[in-house]
Amino acid sequence: MLFNSLEYLFFLPIVVGLYYLLAPCWRWILIFISSCAFYMAFIPKYILVLFAIILIDYSAAIWMEKLIGGKKKMLLLVSLSANIGILAFFKYFGFANQTLIDLFALFGKEFKHYDLGIILPIGLSFHTFQSMSYTIEVYRGVQKAEKHLGYFANYVLFFPQMVAGPIERYATLGSELRKVNPFEYAAMRDGFRLVLLGFVVKMVVADQLAPFVNQVYANPSGYNSLQIGLAMVFFSFQIYADFFGYSLIAQGSARLLGIRIMDNFRTPYFSKNVAEFWRRWHISLSTWFRDYLYIPLGGNRVKWARWALNTLMVFGISGLWHGANWTFIVWGLLHGFFLILERPLQRYQTTIGTFLLVTFAWVFFRAPDFTSAIQLFKGLIDLSTEGPKWMDYLTPIGALSLMLVLDWSYRKKRFDLMLAEIHVRLRWAIYFVLLFLLLAFSGTQKFTFIYFQF
């Protein structure tokens, strides 16, 4: 089920209503059933993949607590291998096969093409990473194993964040799911604010930017430098609005149930360098890689060459996590290079410069292949003036301006908290403006959330 669908607008109030009507001891069942229903609206049979992940990690964690030394480590490896194996099978099999075909072709040989004919289960990268963080924490002894299968299942399945994060840790989401939440006006109010803003950011900003971006990326040769440049900038904001919008709706939906989930973004395009950008963009993934990959590899406490290699490795894997394509790996590696190169250049770092670097890298993220990406960069020096008129960009430019205004107002304090501090009349005026924008100016083409594909 998509957040930006009529079904969800009925689904959410029903779940929220039932949640507060039920006695607290039964609520986990409601969350479990509603999360399954939410997920099964996509491809029902894939819920079995999630059940497999849940059962493997639930059992592994309980056994791990009873073991020590090598056996404990072995169990962790089994759990991680199962998660990564599932991810590899569904997400990377075709990519690995194609890479081998290309490699063999370089030497004039043939490698067989295998088509498994499978569709990637939605949000698989998110719930495998979330589940893996739990087993790692239990292995480290930081987290106690959850004995209640239902609560653990809800941790992996919780519908507001199951398909595109934030990738929560058990220590926070697990305890939030166990909390007895009485019906509170404040939770309703905050949830409503976040959901409203999330819908505006997704449907008015991202979905209005998407058509122009899609047109240019589908046919770079049909556009001049100005249009290509605009499309690149628009995509930077489209993906931000798309993912930020999703995260806000996720946070708001959870908040309506009295459950708090983490902030995944903190105005990333106001960052002064790429390192800061990664502290403010997709925070739950950045911290996952930091805690479970970067620090175990040595973190900052290694020699420069090792640190640079580790940085490239972490960002290369982060790129691969995003998508099974070399363009994503290059996108990740580019960010790794930016981080390495910006260290000695701290005094030259600016917000605009960082934005341009990030926008440059997004081209590889968005382009379907390297040929298209290179074509786009070549197009940047095409100074012809033919093409659509300025009037054609009015809608996306309006959407982009709205995003800038929202982000500017968001840079110091979260939107819902900021609203709480202003006069009631102004607050309601903002509600009405946002609601009107949502109802009257949302994009009309169906665009699923970009991060759903990961």
Binding site: N4, S5, L6, L9, Y185, M203, D207, W428, Y431, F432, L435, F436, L438, L439, A440, S442, G443, T444, K446
Partner: protein, 336 residues
């Protein structure tokens, strides 16, 4: 807290009503131009015509070699002096869309008569599950029964029959594979699928012994287009029923223009059984609407010869000048 909440909900409701008013005043018209331009054409034609003619591509396409390129509705307009006929055309349209346009007509300028194109193929699985359907459905969301702002938001949510082309194709294939014929006469195969398979497996050979793929493809297409059995649960019938109810309630003369189909080629490429099916379905429509519901059904099904059709290698209702004129004359007779 209840009082607090009630006040807020009330303020919100009043705000939404005001928003809807502002939207209708300043933005609705622009959105109609963008998303549902056909309804503006309906309203425009209502002001200047006495009779409205609703059609798909049969009233757009003319043969390249025709000296006179007037469409069916334009020819009818010339033949009928009593009325001025205005046409609203959109390719691939069907009764489900005409219905929405008709129901959304300006009630202050209702026409004296409405002519609705009744395309036999539009009742079949091939057309009902066409990949053009999502675009057609999205074009009428703005005409929905809700306040303008709600319709706009429903469009943004894609709250209409918005299946993908692959999903629609699957439904079509299922229908062809599982729906068995139950005609009061014999047909050579029980389903479209089996009939299509039989034709695809070498029904036409060239003199050199190889398969004549052009003829085979056309024969298969005839079967897929026309080999279906009209049943009361066909959703198109419901659409036509609603058009009838609307017009009868407002005393508007209603004419269903049952288009000519290339029965000559259907018989030549597939066989007389397919023509029998077409006649059976035609009789069903004439019986249901002409005899039972009092609608004037202009039966053009077998009016034309094979050569009257512009597309000699496909099953479209695109006619040459002679064909269009013959149909126009029939409609004109019905209008008098």
């Amino acid at each position: 807290m209840v009082k607090q909440l009630s006040i807020r909900i009330l303020v919100l409701l009043v705000g939404v009503v005001v928003m809807n008013y502002l939207y209708t005043l300043f933005f609705f018209q622009k959105d109609l131009v963008k998303y549902s331009p056909e309804i503006l054409e309906v309203w425009k034609q209502q002001k200047r015509a006495d009779v409205l003619y609703f059609a798909e591509s049969s009233n757009i396409n003319v043969r390249d070699t025709d000296a006179v390129k007037l469409t069916i509705s334009e020819l009818t307009d010339q033949l009928v002096h009593k009325y001025h006929i205005g046409a609203i055309n959109k390719p691939a349209t069907h009764a489900g869309i005409y219905k929405k346009w008709i129901q959304k007509m300006d009630p202050t300028h209702l026409p004296e008569a409405i002519i609705v194109t009744m395309n036999l193929r539009s009742f079949g699985a091939d057309w009902r599950h066409s990949d053009l359907e999502s675009a057609l459905q999205s074009s009428v969301v703005m005409l929905g029964p809700y306040p303008a702002l709600a319709n706009r938001f429903l469009l943004a949510l894609n709250a209409f029959d918005n299946q993908t082309a692959a999903q629609r194709e699957q439904e079509m294939l299922n229908e062809w594979a599982t729906t068995t014929f139950n005609f009061p006469f014999n047909v050579p195969y029980p389903t479209v699928r089996t009939w299509d398979d039989a034709l695809a497996n070498g029904s036409f050979l060239k003199p050199d012994g190889s398969w004549d793929m052009e003829k085979i493809t056309l024969a298969c297409h005839y079967v897929k287009s026309y080999a279906f059995q009209m049943k009361p649960e066909n959703p198109r019938l419901n659409d036509f029923d609603e058009i009838v109810a609307y017009c009868q309630a407002r005393h508007i003369k209603l004419i269903f223009n049952l288009l000519a189909e290339n029965t000559e080629y259907a018989q030549q490429y597939v066989g007389k059984e397919l023509v029998q099916i077409m006649r059976y379905n035609r009789d069903f429509l004439v019986q249901r609407y002409g005899r039972q519901k009092g609608v004037t059904v202009v039966d053009n099904l077998e009016l034309l010869n094979g050569l009257d059709y512009s597309d000699q290698n496909w099953t479209t209702e695109h006619y040459g000048y002679d064909g269009r004129l013959k149909i126009a004359k029939n409609i004109a007779k019905a209008l008098h």
